[in-house]
């Protein structure tokens, strides 16, 4: 059955390249005789059965937006599977607007809504994998749309911080968004050559403690001191928070009180907590190191896309329309080796929870090993040579035995 009206819906956090997909889908849809309808603010209005927050896209409106950051149509995190009502409203609104197919541009959260429409209605759905987190379950090396630009812009920020650290003789503690995985942190840290990057995937156990993270940072600072360098930049993946025990979370949360006396719990400020812990440990042993924490993330999500993402966005948008035009089944769309490869929704959904599956950083890869090789961190090799242990201990304000005990985790 020929598709007459194709909807475009953007969900989740913004990512560079989204406008390129909107542009390519609209242009290609018009070319093959479909009417492209752009929906405002993701599923937000549809889930309330509003049918007004949409408009027909024209080539004039979209032909010059592919190099712009942001999302022309706006986005939201509305998940239509949250209630039967939201889902029914959405389907009713889409039916009323005579939408036969939808291109969803979004991440692992959006998969749920996209797959639900695909499996429970006659509307065909193609999702374009968009996320600066690079964590949608699909084969490597394909990045999710927007990741490369976010990484690129993040490296720009890091470059300044690294130069600043060197110039002022201090440490920066960057914290990158991208929960719960470490792709963005590692991508930025590896490309910028941060002194060390810490991601959740490197810890084998279920739970990660603040003390363990502080050990790594403190160890790096001491090792650099022993190497004659009193500065550096450590990068933490914010996703480390998701591995804290409930008790630790309760202890680390900041509470602010507003004018009405309401307590407002803010997210754990990972950078500040690690900074305080490490600085205190060092100060107790008479070592003064300036550490400044710096969250990195929101300023990356709407950067203008770099060419990698511009090209990928065009490929994905075009492929989405052609796939539907050729009667392809509902799927998550990827481009692998220049070819369009649809992945059935069933393969990217956790059937138990109904959530989108993610891919974590694979720490067994060469690529991760290379990243680790160039980091300056304490490892088992640092504990073999007595003279070096002595030097490290002195740099950390310990005696050799005290140093070994303190860094038992790093000795392996």
């Amino acid at each position: 059955m020929a598709i007459k009206r194709i909807g475009i819906i953007v969900g989740g956090g913004p990512a560079p390249g989204t406008n390129g997909v909107i542009s390519a889908v609209a242009i290609e849809a018009i070319r093959v005789g479909m009417v492209p309808i752009g929906f405002t603010d993701g599923f937000d209005w549809l889930a309330q059965r509003y049918t007004d927050e949409q408009h027909e896209l024209t080539i004039d409106e979209v032909s010059r937006i592919h190099l712009d950051g942001g999302v022309l149509l706006g986005t939201s995190r509305r998940d239509i599977t949250e209630s039967a009502e939201s889902f029914d409203n959405t389907v009713a609104a889409l039916s009323k607007l005579k939408i036969d197919a939808v291109v969803c541009i979004g991440g692992d959260d959006m998969v749920r809504s996209a797959a639900a429409i695909a499996s429970r209605t006659s509307i065909r759905v193609v999702q374009v994998p968009k996320s600066i987190d690079n964590d949608i379950r699909m084969p490597l090396p394909m990045p999710t749309l927007g990741y490369e630009t976010a990484r690129h812009a993040g490296v720009g920020v890091m470059k300044s911080l690294m130069e600043d650290a060197k110039t002022t003789g201090r440490w920066y503690l960057g914290v990158t968004i991208g929960r719960p995985t470490g792709h963005l942190a590692l991508g930025i840290g590896k490309a910028a050559s941060a002194t060390c990057t810490i991601i959740p995937e490197e810890f084998p156990g279920e739970v990660v403690s603040l003390a363990e993270i502080a050990d790594v940072v403190e160890g790096s600072i001491i090792k650099r001191r022993a190497m004659g360098k009193g500065y550096g930049v450590a990068l933490l993946a914010e996703g480390l928070i998701d591995r804290f025990s409930p008790r630790e979370i309760a202890e680390l949360q900041d509470t602010d009180r507003d004018a009405h006396g309401n307590v407002r719990v803010t997210e754990i400020d990972l950078g500040r907590k690690v900074k305080n812990e490490v600085q205190t440990r060092l100060e107790e042993r008479g070592i003064k190191v300036t550490i400044v924490d710096k969250p990195i993330g929101y300023e990356l999500r709407c950067a203008p896309p770099i060419p990698i993402d511009v090209e990928l966005s065009r490929d994905l948008g075009y492929a989405a329309v052609i796939h539907l035009h050729r009667d392809g089944p509902s799927a998550l769309l990827t481009i692998q080796g220049g070819e369009c490869r649809p992945i059935p929704f069933a393969e990217v959904l956790d059937l138990g929870s109904g959530k989108g599956l993610r891919r974590a950083v694979d720490t067994t890869t060469e690529s991760y090993q290379v990243a680790r090789k160039y980091m300056v961190r304490l490892g088992p090799a640092d504990f073999r040579d007595e003279a070096w242990v002595g030097k490290l201990a002195a740099a950390g304000g310990f005696d050799a035995a005290g140093f070994r005990t303190h860094f038992a985790r790093q000795r392996g």
Partner: protein, 423 residues
């Protein structure tokens, strides 16, 4: 013609884009003038410790390609040699031992004072010139002359804010961005005006001694409400860090975070103004059933070591060159500026308030045309917003308040500094 003369270059204070350009230009010009040039690492730190090993020759090859790089190839430090007579003596002796006859210092007001004091204490054996550097743009120069590094920091900051504006629009939220700049609001306003942020609040707007935290929150809440009434539920507000200095000290204590570490130590962190404003304003709005997402973000450290934009690359060449011209001409004990393409040395005494001895701080001039333009394009509650009853009704509705309560809460904002200038 300057045979036997040795020029030392050192950098003090926080980094600013263009430092390497000044180092490069000064070194090349000095070498061409017959000086031997040495780079002194990490400001006055090693000099105070009488460590000669950190004074090393600088050749043209060392500096000819660094002019477009951020950071400082000579490092920097906040070591203050004027803190004690011994420290000062150590610096002078170490420089004399190293054969330094001329000194170029690059830094902020503290480094300027050190530069002058060292020259004085050397009793004419060391001549010094200071090149003022700060991304804060707060030195007492004529209004049209920026401090070097400011334009680059503003440029990079405006790009970050542009991304946040796009993000706010795409995700329908507000960003509250706190920009560095110490007491002065130049960087905040420079970024906000260039990027077209919804509004920028600087400390200079408040002529009174102290500003209350509630007042700052009223301005932000008012802007959010006004934008809602205009059909826009997103925006970016920029706050100057200097606002923290203007908060009532009593209030400040209540806003400080108390950190307790594993060892039971209590430490006071700096006031996280952005987070506090977010919590307060979100709380007020939620109370009235308005769900507005506010995200806070600090901007500053990532700007200080950016590669200089062409403006600073050119300007810093001028400054470095002029510093040497000034010394070659027999000058000493001044700060170099370039105004309208011409070198203008400024005596150190002109930098200080005669009464207090403190460095004069150039603040944002809220009576200037430049500020009025910035203010005119901001979206904030102004006197005009309280003229027409129909508009007040609409604003009150957007705020989930009755018109009476809305006036009571916000009408005072229209009477404040610059309030009517947006008309």
């Amino acid at each position: 013609m300057n045979a036997g003369k040795r020029l030392g270059i050192l950098v003090g204070g926080g980094p600013a884009p263009g430092i390497n350009t000044v180092i490069s230009a000064a070194a090349i010009e000095a070498i061409n003038e017959g000086f031997e040039v040495v780079g002194i690492r990490d400001g006055f730190k090693n000099l105070v410790r009488m460590d000669l090993s950190q004074i090393r020759p600088l050749g043209i090859d060392d500096v000819s390609r660094v002019h477009l790089m951020g950071g400082s190839v000579l490092g920097t430090s906040r070591e203050n040699p004027t803190k004690s007579a011994e420290a000062l003596q150590a610096v002078v002796e170490t420089l004399q031992q190293a054969g330094v006859t001329h000194l170029v210092t690059i830094g902020g007001d503290d480094t300027a004072l050190s530069s002058r004091t060292v020259a004085e204490r050397s009793q004419g054996t060391i001549k010094s010139v200071h090149v003022p550097k700060t991304i804060d743009n707060d030195l007492p120069l004529p209004p049209h002359v920026p401090t070097f590094g400011f334009q680059t920091a503003r440029h990079v900051g405006a790009e970050l804010v542009r991304n946040l504006m796009e993000d706010a629009r795409s995700t329908r939220r507000w960003y509250v961005v706190v920009a560095m700049g110490r007491k002065a609001g130049h960087l905040a306003l420079g970024i906000g005006k260039a990027a077209g942020a919804t509004l920028t609040v600087v400390a200079e707007e408040f002529p009174e001694e102290a500003v209350s935290f509630a007042h700052i929150c009223d301005i932000i809440e008012g802007a959010i409400v006004k934008r809602r009434a205009m059909g826009r539920n997103f925006g970016v507000a920029i706050l100057a860090e200097g606002l923290i200095d203007k908060l009532d000290p009593k209030e400040l204590a209540g806003l400080s975070d108390v950190e307790r570490d594993d060892h039971g130590h209590v430490r006071f962190a700096e006031v996280d103004l952005g987070r506090k404003v977010k919590a307060e304003v979100e709380g007020r709005l939620t109370e009235r059933g308005l769900n507005v997402i506010i995200t806070h973000k600090n901007v500053g450290y990532e700007l200080r070591c950016a590669d200089p934009i062409p403006f600073d690359a050119e300007y810093c060449r001028d400054l470095g060159q002029c510093a040497i011209r000034f010394l070659v001409g027999g000058g000493s004990g001044a700060m170099i500026s370039v105004q309208g393409g011409r070198m203008v040395p400024i005596p150190f005494d002109d930098l200080r308030e005669p009464s207090t001895g403190k460095t004069k701080v150039r603040l944002v001039d809220t009576n200037s045309e430049g500020f009025r333009v910035a203010r005119a394009y901001m979206i904030r509650l102004d006197a005009d917003d309280f003229v027409h009853a129909a508009w007040v009704d609409r604003l009150a509705e957007a705020a989930h308040l009755s018109p009476g309560v809305f006036r009571q809460r916000f009408e005072y904002l229209g009477g404040g500094a610059g309030g009517s200038s947006a008309s």
